[in-house]
Symmetry: C2
Subunit: 488 residues, 2 copies
Amino acid sequence: MAKEITPRSEDYSQWYLDIVHKARLADNSPVRGCMVIKPHGFAIWENMRDALDGMFKATGHVNAYFPLFIPKSFLSKEAAHVEGFAKECAVVTHYRLKNDPNGGGVIVDPEAKLEEELIVRPTSETIIWNTYRDWIQSYRDLPILLNQWANVVRWEMRTRPFLRTAEFLWQEGHTAHASADEAMAEAKLMLDVYAQFAEEYMAMPVIKGIKTPNERFAGADETFCIEALMQDGKALQAGTSHFLGQNFAKAFEVQFLNKENQQEYVWATSWGVSTRLIGGLIMTHSDDDGLVLPPRLAPTQVVIVPIPKPAPELTEAAEKITAALRAKGIRVKIDNDDQNRPGFKFAEYEMIGTPVRLGLGARDLAAGQVEVARRDTKEKSNVALDQVADYIENLLTEIQQNLFNKAKAYRDEHITRVDTWDEFVEVLDNKGGFVSAHWDGSTETELAIKEKTKATIRCIPVDNPLEDGVCILTGKPSTQRVLFAKAY
Amino acid sequence: MAKEITPRSEDYSQWYLDIVHKARLADNSPVRGCMVIKPHGFAIWENMRDALDGMFKATGHVNAYFPLFIPKSFLSKEAAHVEGFAKECAVVTHYRLKNDPNGGGVIVDPEAKLEEELIVRPTSETIIWNTYRDWIQSYRDLPILLNQWANVVRWEMRTRPFLRTAEFLWQEGHTAHASADEAMAEAKLMLDVYAQFAEEYMAMPVIKGIKTPNERFAGADETFCIEALMQDGKALQAGTSHFLGQNFAKAFEVQFLNKENQQEYVWATSWGVSTRLIGGLIMTHSDDDGLVLPPRLAPTQVVIVPIPKPAPELTEAAEKITAALRAKGIRVKIDNDDQNRPGFKFAEYEMIGTPVRLGLGARDLAAGQVEVARRDTKEKSNVALDQVADYIENLLTEIQQNLFNKAKAYRDEHITRVDTWDEFVEVLDNKGGFVSAHWDGSTETELAIKEKTKATIRCIPVDNPLEDGVCILTGKPSTQRVLFAKAY
C-alpha cells in the first residue's frame, strides 16, 4: 500500500490526492466539484465537530437550523455581500420533474418554474438576518448567540478535496449584539476558540491575524483569521471570524430599542470553519507513508494487531489491554482479520494514520510484554503488559505534543523577515512560507504584489508590533510588517 | 403565555401550530415550505440525533457524507424510483448570478446553464449506489453499513412545521450485503432500533409493521415501518426501513464476486427517520398549556426558579442542588432572570415543556425543603433539600414511564376491531385511531377504501396472527386483519 503514494518531493499536489484517496478520507463524485466523504474522513470530521461544538456551547452558544435556500433578492440587499458572494452559486429555478413524453427518462417540467429563483446558500447571513428582524425588538432580546452546522455550496471552478469543493460542510456562527464593543469582543473570542482548537486538537500552530480590507469577508467591517502553514510552504486560511458592524442589520432593517429607549441597528458577527480543516490536518502532519493524525482527532487511537494472526490467547490478552485503555477513554480496536499478514496491516495502519499500533505475539505474551509502535516517529518499544495502559495514555499525550512541536518548529523556521523586493521574491520562490515585510497599506500595492508574485497578505498579526519601515514594492513609508505568503 | 394557545378541542391543527411557535421550536421562513428550527427545537433534535447515532454505532454502522446534488439522469435509472421520487424536486439549472446591467440587483447568468440539471437530493439511494459500484468488488467488501445525517428536499404543496416541510433534516442508512437474508435481517434490525428509540426515548408507543405494496417506498421490495397514534386519532408514520432487494444494484450495475466465485448483484437496505419525529413528539404528549417533553429528550430536564426573585442565599442553595443533579448527569438550569415574576416563569416553563420545576423561596429554605412540580401531571410536592437529588432522579424516570404509559393506554384504546363497512366508517368518523379490519389484499380495494374514507392501510403488524375473514369493502376472503387509519 504505502509504496503507492507519490512522494512529496516528487509531486506535492499528487501526494495530497494520494493521501486523501488511500487513507480512505474522500472519493470523487459524479457531481462536478462535490466529494464523497468516506467513513474514515467523516469520523475525523465528527471528532472535530464534537470538540468545536463543546467549545461553542461552553462559550454560551446554541445551535439552530436555517433553510438551505435563499431567495435571490436577499443576496442583493447588502451591497458588499452582493459583490463577494452572489456570483458563483447554485441556482434553483424549477421545482418539478416529469416523465419525458418521448420516453427519454425524466425532464424538467417547464411549467414548474419558480417565480423567484432560489440560491443554495453559499453562507447564511442574509437569511438569518432576515429572520432576526422578527426575533429582535429590544435590548432584552440580545445577545443572540447562534451557531449552525450545515452544508453550503460555492460553485468553484478548480476544486481539490477538502481544500476547495463546490459543496462543503461547515459551521457558521451568527451573533447579534447591542453594542459594537460587545460584537467586537465576540468576534475576537471566537478567533481565540478557533486558535485553541487548531493548536490543541489539530496540533496545527496558527497565527491569529486581521485581514486587509481587500481580503475581508464581503459585508464585514473587520475580518479576523487563523493562518496555518502547510509542508509545501503555502499558507492555509483555516478559519475566519467577522465583525460585521451594522451592515446586515441595516440591509435587513433589524433595529432594537436600546436601554436609552432609542431605536438602534443591531451589531453582528459571523464566524466559520469547514471541512477544509481536514485538508489542513493532512498537510500539517502527514508523510510519504500516509496520513498522520493527532491522537485527539484520530477515530481509532490505538490498534492491536495479533501476530502472526488472531489466536485465542492473543485475543484474550488483547481484550484485557482494550478494557484497560477504554477505561481511560482511549479509542482502541483489535484487528481480528485473519486474511492479511501483519506486514500488510502495519502498512495499512500507517496509511490511515492510527497514532499507536500494538503488535502482540505469543513470544511477547510469554515475556509479559507487547511491542508498541508510534506512527509519528516510527519508533518501537517493548512495554510490560501490566504497564501498557499507563504507557499508552502518556504516549498519546506525547505524540499530540510532538506533532504540535514539530509543526511549530517548521512554521517558525518559515517566517522570514525581508526588507527588499529581491529578498521577498527570492524567499517566495525558493524557501516559501510566510514572509514578514513592510507594506504601504494600499490595496493597489497589495494587488500589484499579488500580480507579480501570486503572494497575498495573509494577515496582520493581532499582536503586531509597530515598526517604521518602507514598503518592499513602492518604497513608501510603512508602520508595520505584514505576513505575505502564497496560499491555498 | 399559556392562555394564548388554542385548545385542542377547539382547533387541533391550530393548537399544533401554537405549540410549535410558542414553545419556540420553529418559525416560518421566507422560503416556501421551509422552516427555521429554533434553538429549543434544535436542541431536541440534537438529543434525538445523539441517541440514535449511538444506537446506529452500537449496531456496527458508521457515518459518511454524499453530495447534496444528484445528476438528473440518475433518477431515471431505477424504474419504480422514478415514479415515486423524481417528481417534486428542487432543480438546479444554473451555477452563476451576475449584476443586472439595468441595475436591478442580481440576475441569473443565462450563460451559466448546466449541461445536465442537478436535483437537490430527495433521498440518496441513487448517488450512493452509483458510488458503491466503485467500492464493491468482492464479498470481502461487504457488508457496507453506512449512515448519513443530512438535509433533503421534497417540494411539498401543503406543508406543516416538522410534519411535512420542503426541506427537512434526517438520517438515511444505506447498507449493502452479500445475501438477501442478511439484507432482510438488517432492515428488520433497524426497524427494531427505531421502535426502541421511539418507545424508550420519545415515550411514544409504536406498532411495527409492513407496508402494503401500494404504500411501499419507490424502489423497495419490502417496506417496514413504525406507526404511532397522535392525540387527534390520526396515525403518524414515524420511521421506515426498506429491504431494497437487488433493485438499486441492478440499476447502477453493482456486482460482487461471491464466495462461489460468481458475479452477483448486491443486496440493499435503506432506512430513515427525520425531524418529523419532533411533530410526533409534540402530538403524543403535549397539552393545552404547552409542550410536554419526555425527560430523556428534554434540553433542560430541571429548572430551579428562585422565589420571588434571585437572592444570594437562594442562589447558593440552587447551586448546591444543581451540582448534585449534574453529578447524576441531569440537565439542570437556574433561572436567574430578575425581570419576570415566578408566575410568568412557571407558565413559560410549562409552555416549553421542562419536565421538572423547582420553586425555591426563603421560607422553603428555612424549612429545609423545596417545592417540586412535575410538568406531566402538574403535581407538586415538598421535598427535603438533602433528598432532592435522589428524588428528582427517580422522578425523571417516573415521568418518562408515565408519559409512555399514558400514550400507550390512549393508543391501545384506539385500536378498534371492526367487521363491517358501516362500523369501519363509523369508527373512522367518530372515534378515530387505528381500525383493525379484514382486507382482500388487492391494491384496487385499498385505493377504493382510501377514496371513500381517506383512511389508508398503515401497516400489517409484524407479528400479525392469521385469521379467516372477509374484506370489509368487497366481502372477498381475507387471511388477516390490517390496520387502517387516517394519517398525517
